[in-house]
């Protein structure tokens, strides 16, 4: 019962944040509502027992990635976005279509797996267990992601460096 109440409360906060992201016209408001979504998702992970994932969600997503977003928004001095007029066909056909598709998927999910329930903290994802899996079974993907992060760092430095400051000897 407590599990269901917590799930519903934080799920509602999550959905409200996601809708607020769409409704706000200033990017900084959207970024802050995305932080709300990520924080409440961390609670949902905790309810499922994924402690390590919840901690990483708060540190990496709500912390590092969103700070990067807010930093770029302030660096570029992004203002209110100009709305462009949407097409009428999209409004008339799109909204009922999305609603119908969503309801169909929800109905199928409830029909097929409605009896399967998950207990509070069903699968404890302690850092020790995750680390064991990560450094034994998933060692190769882990090393590949380290190369990916290295490439991303170099790409970000190359892309974001200003074009005036060329490397010495490359002047033409």
């Amino acid at each position: 019962m407590l599990h269901l109440v917590l799930f519903l409360v934080f799920g509602a906060i999550c959905v409200a944040g996601a809708i607020n992201l769409l409704a706000q016209s200033h990017p900084i408001s959207s970024a802050l509502s995305l932080v709300v979504v990520m924080a409440s998702l961390a609670v949902e992970y905790l309810l499922l027992g994924a402690e390590f994932v919840a901690a990483v969600q708060v540190i990496v997503y709500a912390g590092a990635v969103m700070v990067l977003f807010v930093f770029v928004i302030m660096l570029l001095n992004a203002g209110e976005e100009e709305r462009t007029k949407g097409s009428h066909v999209a409004l008339i056909l799109g909204v009922p279509g999305v609603l119908a598709g969503g309801l169909l998927v929800a109905w199928v999910l409830i029909e097929r797996s409605g009896t399967q329930t998950v207990a509070l903290g069903a699968l404890p994802g302690f850092p020790k267990a995750i680390g064991n899996l990560l450094f034994h079974e998933f060692l190769l993907p882990f090393e590949v992601t380290s190369i990916l992060v290295l490439i991303a760092i170099m790409g970000a430095v190359v892309l974001a460096s200003s074009p005036e400051t060329k490397a010495p000897g490359k002047e033409s």
């Binding site: 769409l22 977003f69 009896t115 329930t117 990560l134 993907p141």
Partner: protein, 100 residues
């Protein structure tokens, strides 16, 4: 006890919000944030399925998705800075040429 389908429906709602934001938003940074929202929705379904099958692989996958998302955010924001530097705008409607 919460049915596993509730978690999947929440994840679907988040993903749908991300898709809608990707389509209707005109600010390139907000479009990027919608992509992050979609990734978060997928992560929730990974964790829910991990709890259903009692296997930790799902949570390790979420870890990998987060690493890729962080790398993607870094490079994407660098590209946004480069675009802003050459065009002085963040509106995607005005970014319609590959070459200036």
């Amino acid at each position: 006890m919460v049915p596993i389908s509730y978690y999947l429906i929440l994840s679907g709602i988040l993903f749908a919000c991300g898709v809608i934001g990707f389509l209707i938003k005109r600010n390139i940074i907000t479009i990027f944030m919608s992509i992050e929202l979609m990734l978060n929705g997928v992560n929730l379904s990974f964790v829910a399925f991990a709890a259903q099958w009692h296997h930790l692989s799902g949570q390790v996958f979420v870890f990998f998705v987060m690493v890729v998302a962080a790398a993607e955010a870094t490079v994407g924001l660098a590209i946004i800075i480069a675009v802003f530097r050459t065009r002085e705008t963040l509106n995607v409607d005005q970014v319609n040429l590959l070459k200036l």
